[in-house]
Every structure is written in structure tokens, then in C-alpha cells.
């Protein structure tokens, strides 16, 4: 993922309910990948973190797995 996924797909708002998209940026342990690996812009990485944390709170994504 060298390019910003959200910019290339024209996604302005990262929704915490889009768990299929969010899962792409998690490692097998359920941790958020570093920006170096996600290739996201600074702003989108922050938005992604926010969305993942919201999804975790609502039980849509795990806090830890495996």
C-alpha cells in the first residue's frame, strides 16, 4: 500500500461501520498498522485510528485477537 487508499477511492469520511475496509489496516493481532505500512496521509491515518477505536468500542472490531 504505497498510495493513500482513501484518496484513491475518493473516501472523504472514514466510517467506523465500514469494518471490511478497516480490517485491511489491522494486523492479525487486531492492532492498527503503522503509517509506514498503511501508506496513508497523516490526516487519514488519524481518521483511521478514530474509526477503528469507535468500531472497537461498539464491538465491531476486537481490541485484541489471537
Amino acid at each position: 500500500m504505497s498510495t493513500d487508499y482513501f484518496s484513491t477511492h475518493g473516501i472523504k469520511f472514514i466510517d467506523y461501520k465500514d469494518i471490511e475496509i478497516l480490517k485491511r489496516f489491522l494486523n492479525p493481532h487486531g492492532r492498527i498498522l503503522a503509517r509506514k505500512r498503511t501508506g496513508l496521509s497523516s490526516g487519514h491515518q488519524i481518521d483511521l485510528e478514530q474509526a477503528v477505536k469507535r468500531a472497537r468500542f461498539m464491538g465491531l472490531l476486537p481490541f485484541v485477537s489471537r
Partner: protein
């Protein structure tokens, strides 16, 4: 003309006290002990609370049964009940800034709502999965690999050209 419409829109957004209305999204988890038939009444209760804080519904999604990623617990009757499933639903609404807090407090009192979350959002749909679903299917590793079709080579038919015609066309090109 456009300015007038814009002005009226702004005026509509403003409350009597001058407080600006905002778009929020409330998502909730309803305990799985609630029967499917009673879900509608549960949503109606949430909407009633929403109406109390003068919120207007923009869009919503009916609660659906989901498997939770981790076990959640809720204190009921002096002891904790553990849940691995719940009904997840959401309502996007417009309300005056600050009224969302009152809504959250009211929802916490409910016995049937396992968890709720209120966030600031935008009026437009923010769900991107539906929009980029075909692209996702092609990139996900689980998707079946696309079979490469054998390329059929079509031999181009060569038209015989006489030397005179060739010379003529070359001369025309040189003149130009």
C-alpha cells in the same frame, strides 16, 4: 436567488437561542434477550428520547443481529449479564449542539441498550463499502483469481500494393 436560498437554509439551521444545529449519529447495541418482534418498539423508544431533545431523523438503519468481537457485560438486577451477540443499529439525526449529551445520558438508563455511541458526522452517507464493493472483491485475497483468457491472434490481411502506387504515394508525401 441562490443566496436567498442559502440564507433561509442557514436560518433554519439556527435555533431560537441562536445555537447551531449539528448532524450526529447514534449507534446502539440492543441486548439479544429482546425478541425480534419487539425490536421496532425498542427503536421507537430511542426515537421518542430523540424527539425529547428536539432531534430530527435524517437516515437510519434497522437493528441487525451481529456477533460481537468480544464479550460485553451489562449490570442487570444487581449482577452482570454477559453477551456475545447483540442487535446493532444506527440513527443519523440533526439536533442542537449539546442536546446529544442529554440523549446519551437518557440512553444509558435503558435496560435493553447494551452500549451506545454518539458522534458528530455529516449529512451525506459516509458508508463507502457499497460504493467500492466491486473493487474490493477484485483485490481481496479470498476472491477467486481471474482466469486469463487465451489471446487469439488475428492475422492481418496484407493488401498487395503495386510499385507505381507506392511511388505515387511517396511523391505526394514529399510534396506536402
Amino acid at each position: 436567488m441562490a443566496e436567498e436560498i442559502e440564507k433561509t437554509g442557514e436560518e433554519m439551521d439556527e435555533d431560537i437561542d441562536g445555537a447551531e444545529s449539528r448532524v450526529y449519529e447514534l449507534s446502539y447495541l440492543i441486548v439479544p434477550t429482546v425478541k425480534v418482534d419487539d425490536l421496532e418498539s425498542e427503536v421507537a423508544k430511542i426515537k421518542a428520547v430523540l424527539a425529547e431533545v428536539h432531534g430530527t431523523v435524517i437516515s437510519e438503519d434497522a437493528p441487525k443481529d451481529i456477533e460481537l468481537s468480544y464479550e460485553m457485560r451489562k449490570g442487570q438486577g444487581g449482577k452482570y449479564e454477559k453477551f456475545n451477540r447483540a442487535y446493532f443499529g444506527w440513527i443519523k439525526f440533526e439536533a442542537i449542539g449539546g442536546s446529544a449529551v442529554a440523549l446519551g445520558v437518557e440512553l444509558k438508563k435503558s435496560d435493553t441498550i447494551l452500549r451506545s455511541l454518539i458522534i458528530k458526522t455529516v449529512r451525506e452517507s459516509t458508508l463507502a463499502t457499497m460504493r467500492i464493493a466491486p473493487q474490493l472483491d477484485s483485490t481481496t485475497p479470498t476472491a477467486a483469481p481471474v482466469k486469463k483468457m487465451p489471446v487469439k491472434r488475428v492475422e492481418g490481411k496484407s493488401v498487395p500494393v503495386s510499385e507505381a502506387e507506392l511511388d505515387k504515394s511517396i511523391k505526394e508525401l514529399v510534396v506536402e
